[in-house]
Amino acid sequence: MKRRDSIKTLLVGGVASATLATTSCRSDSEVLGENTEIKDKGYGRTEAEKLHDEKVQAEICLVEHELNTIATLCDLILPASETAGSATEAGVPEFIDFIVKDLPTHQLPIQGGIMWLDGESNRRFEKQFVDCSNAQQKEILDDIAFWDEEDKTPELHPGRIFFDRMRNLTLTGYYTSKMGINDLGYAGNRPNLWDGVPQEVLDKHGLDYPEAWKPKFINHETRDDAAIWDDNGNLLN
């Protein structure tokens, strides 16, 4: 692959290290999180799909300024909490960099949206969005992060539409990362024996299983005994 001297190479170049180090993506970020490596194999791809991934990864779409703006926005949308890292620590900018190439319908709205945002910050503060102070950035976001029910500021609609997309992509990138799934608390994707809703949850919701159904449910104790039925379809073991 042709290496280009930019963050792009680091972000999409299939670098073999487990952790990607970059200083350009976010001014205060030295090291990105554990999920930033974009794998080109290992999730059950066909040959055609592997080629697709390689092709997408080799493409260049977003430039450094755009990625920096995305990183800044991501961390305003999901800053670190007391127990979980920020969006950039979870690798969200790298995800967005990939997804705008993989799903090109995102491309123009994201790139145009960043231009709009810079236009707005220039209008207000004579600076590009990334160069604004945190307070200035939030002042703009406060105006575009909520829908304008009464249509009082239609001139800000492009910003609202852009921010809604950024918020969606940030949330989806974050909560599909290892860090985000831990933060959410999703407890599945591991072998287990499902035995119904925990009793305390049933109690809280005032629900229970129908009495007539209870004897019919799986008995995990006998799961390995090969099933035997009588002639009428009654399971005997």
Binding site: I38, K39, G42, Y43, G44, T46, E49, H52, L76, I77, L78, P79, S81, F98, I99, D102, L103, A145, F146, W147, R167, N168, L171, T172, Y175, T176, S177, K178, G180, I181, D183, L184, Y186, A187, G188, N189, R190, N192, W194, D195, G196, V197, P198, E200, V201, K204, H205, Y209, P210, F217, I218, T222, R223, D224, D225, A226, A227, W229, G233, L235
Partner: protein, 571 residues
């Protein structure tokens, strides 16, 4: 191009390795016949780590499972969907039929919902009830013994309920419902809609030493490496191969069936996708299990002086009466399910409860019924998770939008608080709804493609209206709000395009009269007795059920008939 021939003559060639073809291979190989299975896609074994997606995490995909390459997302185990590269299809004006193809060993059974419902007595003779469509030439009593054997052979969980048109069977024990399913049960009861444990072909208990038992990852659509769900490769093809009776031809796209002077089949002609050459295989019988539309296409492309209108098509009925299940759905937000305690509720891959059809059509403005499927719960996030998370606030009177720590709270508060309710119903087979050969278009292999012509009628639209009205009522009964807009008349009440439910049947329907049907009641072509069809093509009518369990029961029945004819030297 040179056509490569082989001197070997198989007892039978089976086209397709899914539910119908897989079952047929299993039956005929076990009966000692020498079989070739010709599959258009690659070899696939759910156990192979190189292709396996089961137990993968969303972050292992750079697109987090988005549907760029596979219609149901990166981790869904179907190679091919409504679009297959190099294999186009065309539409008559005003038609929007969606044609699903899974090109792989085992076909669609690697990813399907495992919803395994027997057709009931009424389903085979529905014309007697409402005068619409056509009766099957067989009844439930003739199919019941095959369903019974199928239950034990393949495994399906469920409960015997004694319902008149949703027959009992030999069931494995069902899993306990999830929390949102208990809410659904309560909401449905209030509307007089019955709810019973679902019937899925997933092993909640061992049935034989070859297959494992479910470990509740909820990912049957990824095809189970423990063979605890039904996939035709792991359950039929691999066991059929054990005694050396089966030659497997993968990546081989069948072009046509060859015939002799008497009009009987002599084998098939196929394109090997790996060397792009045409081959001919010979056999005493040909079994089509390529899927309803693919089998019709092969027949229509098999023209000869004996069969000038295509093989089996003297009636001009091949491709006609194509029909898919109806489908419409609503999703809802249930405030009582907010702020849930989080625990692992993956369960089996699919719904733990469902509603069989309960209505009385004499009191309704549409014929036939539908069953209800539901989804929801604390699922594994994938691309799309969190989209519109903040928008849910409008349903609890809070401000929509924002950023920062509040968003994290929103995502957690609303996680698991949405449910979806979907109807899958029976449409009436129509003479004009059909697929034909489009001689103006060929696929990558030089084979003329299918052209679809399909229109829904008001029967289906009014059924979809009943669906969304019912689902709205149930969502309200659950204390919830419908998410988004309930589709009205201008949107055909959300009725999905034909083909989208992926239950297409009827293209080679069975019947006693060779003038109005393609196969007889044994799924043998009226026009060539050594050709059988074991996919959903011979279905005279769909039911308010999914078709797979019936495809398999009938494939068992047809394949055993073939074996008997073969042993009697009738073919």
């Amino acid at each position: 191009m040179q056509i490569i021939k082989t001197g070997k003559i198989y007892d039978a060639i089976i086209v397709g390795s899914g539910a119908g073809g897989g079952m047929s291979a299993f039956i005929m190989a076990n009966a000692g016949m020498k079989i070739a299975v010709v599959e258009a896609g690659p070899y696939f074994d759910p156990k192979d780590p190189a292709t396996m997606t089961q137990m993968k995490w969303p972050w292992e995909s750079p697109r987090r499972g988005a549907s760029t390459n596979r219609a149901f997302g990166d981790f869904d185990m179907s190679y091919g969907d409504w679009e297959v590269e190099g294999e186009p299809y065309t539409q008559a004006e005003g038609t929007n039929f969606k044609w699903w193809r899974s090109r792989m060993l085992g076909g669609r059974t690697n990813h399907w919902g495992r919803i395994s419902l027997r057709f009931g007595p009424t389903d085979f003779k529905h014309k007697d009830v409402d005068g619409l469509g056509e009766n099957w030439p067989i009844g439930y009593d003739e199919v019941k013994p095959y369903y019974d054997r199928l239950d034990k052979l393949v495994g399906v969980f469920g409960t015997n309920e004694g319902l008149p048109n949703d027959p009992d069977g030999f069931f494995l024990p069902p899993p306990k419902p999830r929390l949102h399913e208990l809410y659904y049960m309560k909401g449905a009861k209030k509307s007089g809609v019955p709810v019973i444990p679902s019937r899925l072909s997933i092993l909640t208990k061992r049935i034989n030493p070859e297959r494992g038992v479910c470990f509740y990852c909820g990912q049957c659509n990824r095809s189970c490496n423990a063979y605890a769900d039904f996939s035709a490769g792991s359950v039929f093809i691999f066991p059929a191969q054990k005694n050396g009776q089966v030659d497997l031809y993968t990546n081989c796209m069948v072009k046509n069936i060859t015939t002799n002077d008497e009009g009987l089949a002599t084998g098939v002609s196929f394109i090997n996708k790996e060397d792009a050459k045409e081959y001919k295989l010979k056999s005493k019988a040909v079994v089509l299990g390529a899927s309803a539309c693919s089998s019709a296409r092969i027949l229509l492309n098999s023209k000869s002086s004996q069969h000038p209108n295509g093989l089996g098509n003297s009636s001009d009925h091949v491709g006609r009466y194509l029909h898919d299940s109806t489908g419409s759905e609503l999703s809802g937000f249930i405030p009582s399910l907010m702020d849930r305690k989080i625990y692992n509720e993956d369960g089996v891959g699919g719904l733990h409860v469902y509603s069989p059809w309960w209505g009385n059509n004499k009191k309704l403005d549409f014929p036939r019924g539908y069953h209800i499927e539901i989804w929801g719960g604390l699922g594994m996030p994938a691309y799309g998770f969190g989209f519109g998370a903040s928008a849910m606030n409008k349903y609890i009177g809070e401000k929509v939008g924002g950023y920062g720590p509040k968003l994290r709270e929103d995502v957690k508060r609303f996680y698991g608080a949405s449910i979806g309710i979907a109807g899958r119903g029976e449409s009436i087979a129509q003479y004009e709804n059909r697929c034909t050969i489009d001689n103006n278009t060929v696929d990558r292999f030089g084979i003329p493609v299918l052209k679809f012509n399909y229109q829904w009628t008001d029967y289906e639209r009014l059924q979809a209206k009943h669906m969304v009205d019912t689902f709205e009522e149930i969502i309200h009964n659950m204390g919830g709000t419908v998410l988004g807009e309930k589709p009205g008349k201008e949107k055909d009440y959300g009725l999905l395009a034909p083909g989208q439910i992926i239950h297409e049947v009827g293209t080679t329907r069975m019947g006693d009269d060779p003038k109005t049907s393609v196969t007889n009641k044994w799924q043998q072509l009226h026009d060539a007795k050594n050709v059988y069809i074991v996919d959903a093509g011979p279905f005279t009518s769909q039911a308010d059920k999914n078709c797979t369990w019936t495809i398999m029961a009938l494939s068992m029945r047809a394949s055993e008939h073939l074996v008997r004819q073969f042993k009697k030297k009738e073919i």
